[in-house]
């Protein structure tokens, strides 16, 4: 693996981490929007309590991916920004509204009407943004009919049935992760059960969508589809991912919440890994590869040094943050 591929691997790892952290935040927003049943307000309170100390740190992973991309693969970043202008703008608007609504609802001392409005904005943005992210992912694996080069056009790459299916898949995955995290964080038995039910629904939906995406991929993105299904690693990875997915559902059903949490992180990582392996060596199929877009070797080396040094500082800090807020109070 050369230096450029190492950075690409780093970006993939960051994507997996973002899925399990920022992704969970988005999922939390979805459940805030669709909170239902007699414990509706308790559900919302739990979500707010869980998100508050960590959501800003969680979303830095996305910025991390962006910075890695434009430093190591400036050509790809430039192309992405042009071809996927519209979904990227949607992601951006979603992020702004989400963060602002969340923090204003928490600190702004809103009256009941304003609170409802902010909740809808927060929840709505949390639902739309993952779909837009999925559309972009669908596009970069080759799901646009004609990836527009520097001619610009409308920059609406990725939209279409395949894109929306992938978007729904991402949304379901984020929701599953969030539901499971919330079962661990909930304190009452009834609340835990509420989120277990939601986790099971999300998990089943995810399975259905996985099937749908795979079917759609074979028509829309034959190269990616072939890579995902016909490589030497395809069967082991598919079996592993499927197996873990079933284990997650079993753990939730048998109320083994912490086990479910570990397993769903594993499941998400396997999905992201599959995406990465299938996408390799492309950054934006079919025109932009890791080697074609790579910045000079010297720059990439510097970046790897910075990333390593940064990780040395960050990993203990993140661990400290999660320990302080995510371990159950005795």
């Amino acid at each position: 693996m050369n230096a450029a591929e190492l950075v690409a691997a780093l970006m993939l790892a960051a994507l997996a981490i973002y899925t399990c952290t920022g992704g969970a935040d988005f999922g939390g927003g979805v459940f805030d929007l669709f909170a239902s049943g007699p414990r509706r307000e308790e559900q919302r309170k739990l979500i707010e309590h869980a998100l508050a100390p960590v959501w800003e740190a969680n979303h830095v992973w996305l910025i991390f991916i962006i910075v890695l991309m434009f430093t190591a693969f400036p050509e790809a970043f430039s192309q992405l920004s042009i071809s996927f202008f519209v979904p990227l703008t949607l992601v951006l608007v979603g992020i702004v509204f989400r963060g602002a609504a969340f923090v204003l609802r928490q600190y702004g001392e809103p009256d009941a009407g304003m609170r409802r409005l902010l909740s809808v904005v927060f929840g709505g943005a949390s639902t739309v943004t993952p779909v837009a992210l999925g559309v972009i992912l669908a596009g970069i694996v080759g799901g646009t009919s004609a990836p527009e080069a520097s001619t610009g056009g409308a920059g609406g790459g990725g939209f279409g049935l395949f894109g929306l299916l992938v978007g729904a898949f991402v949304l379901a995955l984020f929701s599953l992760i969030a539901a499971i995290y919330l079962t661990v964080e909930a304190e009452s038995a009834e609340l835990k059960q509420d989120f277990r039910r939601r986790a099971l629904s999300a998990g089943v939906l995810l399975g259905v969508l996985a099937f749908g995406v795979t079917q759609s991929a074979s028509g829309n993105t034959p190269r990616f589809s072939a890579a995902l299904l016909d490589s030497w690693w395809s069967w082991p990875l598919q079996i592993f991912t499927g197996g873990v997915a079933l284990a997650v559902l079993a753990a939730v059903a048998t109320r083994r919440d912490r086990l479910a949490r570990t397993l769903v992180i594993l499941q998400a990582s396997a999905i992201v890994l599959g995406f990465g392996l299938g996408q390799r060596p492309y950054l934006i199929a079919p025109n932009v590869t890791i080697s074609s877009a790579a910045a000079p070797e010297a720059t990439i080396r510097v970046l790897l040094v910075i990333a390593s040094a940064g990780a040395l500082l960050l990993i203990p800090s993140l661990y400290f943050l999660l320990r302080v807020f995510k371990t159950q109070r005795r």
Binding site: S81, F85, T89, I95, G108, A295, A307, L318
Partner: protein, 423 residues
């Protein structure tokens, strides 16, 4: 409005919006930690309460700063993909350092804001110190990017690519020496000045409040050294601009004729040789005028009034700081001097206005270049259509956001101002 102007306005709006909130994120942790440490040392619950009060306001403003910063990292690509394709690898180095600094800041801010009851006091203070330090580092690294854009020495354009360049080039730019301290101090002055103004106003209404007197003291402790250092730093900045960006200097001074003994214009007055002396230390030095550059390239003349606003306000704030020191030496309590309090209230918005004015000078003054002397802004704009619509969408978003935040903050401040209010 053509697409280039639209993209520039969009970026300017995003940057102008973000920088206020980012400045709050950089300076408030300093104030909060001072209050907390003072409170712990003196066992004063009022000071701890002050730190908590400040923390509440900071949380909202920091979050808005964080999301608006995310917007910027996207917009670099969305609006100027040509710039990112060419310069991404170079600015990526300081940007990735900034990313780590900001990540650290976000983590420790989470710990600081929510860990009051979960962390032992010393650990809690330590998290606050980490926020302050990483916030400052974040500002330092991101300013490196802008410094390099203005003074990209060593970079050579060949065949549409930047070649032969040290990957650490962005960190070695000559402009770092003045841009970074000037910006860092500007965020401290802007934020602490506004905080001082708010508490000074509270004291005018409730002269016996010990809480506001302490708050004022802490804010002024930060404002005074920074406001006094800014003018000499600004002078140094001007000298660097004269050396590396002669067209920018000519434009901000509205100096048209390349000549020695260039006069310094101050409204209707002119000091012969003044500009030559300020710029190069020698009244006989030649100062390049706008006549040396093609008229189509001249930066927009708005940078002249912007420059005067920045210098004027900076001077007033320095005078205010000097007055504060004078009162201190005369053992006159700041909280007891009503004229001084009124002056402090007047100075409250000046820091941020000067900050925005200064950025207009340096950014509009850099045009038509995005990387000075190397890449023109016009060549780096996105080819995607429909930018105008997007500009309106974002303008509306920022408007709604700005108004909402202002309303929330006003409410928060008003609750602080109620006489006898405790935390």
């Amino acid at each position: 409005m053509d697409d280039i102007l639209v993209a520039r306005v969009q970026m300017a709006m995003s940057l102008g919006f973000h920088i206020i909130f980012a400045s709050v994120g950089i300076a408030m942790p300093v104030l909060m930690v001072i209050a907390e440490v003072w409170g712990l040392v003196r066992r004063d619950p009022e000071l701890i309460g002050l730190a908590k009060r400040w923390a509440k306001g900071t949380a909202v403003l920091f979050a808005v700063g964080a999301v608006s910063g995310t917007v910027l990292s996207f917009e670099l690509g969305l609006l100027f993909p040509g710039f990112m394709r060419l310069a991404g690898a170079l600015i990526g180095v300081p940007f990735s350092l900034e990313g780590f600094a900001f990540f650290t800041e976000a983590i420790f801010l989470g710990l600081y804001l929510y860990g009051w009851d979960r962390l032992p006091p010393r650990v809690h203070v330590a998290t606050g110190v980490m926020v302050a330090v990483s916030g400052l580092l974040s500002a330092v690294f991101v300013t490196f990017v802008n410094a390099w854009m203005n003074a990209p020495e060593g970079a050579v354009l060949e065949g549409g690519r930047i070649v032969d360049v040290d990957p650490l080039a962005a960190l070695k730019t000559a402009y770092a020496l003045h841009e970074i301290p000037h910006m860092a101090l500007a965020s401290y002055v802007g934020t602490a000045g506004a905080v001082a103004g708010i508490h000074a106003y509270a004291l005018l209404r409730d002269p016996r409040s010990t809480l506001h007197a302490k708050a004022l003291a802490i804010a002024l402790a930060l404002v005074i050294p920074c406001a006094l250092l800014q003018p000499p730093l600004g002078h140094f900045a001007g000298q660097q601009v004269a050396r590396y960006q002669p067209m920018k200097l000519a434009a901000l001074e509205q100096h048209h004729e390349t000549r020695p003994r260039a006069p310094l214009k101050l409204g209707p007055f002119e000091i012969p040789g003044g500009l030559s002396w300020m710029a190069f230390g020698d009244p006989n030095a030649v100062v390049t005028g706008l006549d040396a550059f093609p008229p189509a390239d001249h930066p927009h003349p708005i940078i002249r009034p912007a420059f005067l606003v920045m210098v004027g306000l900076g001077t007033i704030m320095a005078l205010h700081a000097a007055l504060a020191v004078f009162l201190l030496l005369r053992r006159r309590a700041w909280a007891a001097s009503r004229p001084f309090l009124a002056f402090t209230v007047l100075c409250a918005p000046m820091g941020y206005v000067a900050l925005e004015a200064g950025w207009i000078v340096t950014e509009v003054g850099r045009q038509p270049w995005v990387v000075y002397g190397l890449l023109r802004t016009a060549a780096s704009v996105t080819p995607v259509h429909g930018l105008g619509a997007r500009l309106w969408v974002f303008a509306v978003i920022y408007l709604i956001l700005g108004v909402t935040v202002a309303v929330v903050m006003a409410r928060h401040v008003r609750s602080t101002l109620k006489p006898g209010a405790t935390s």
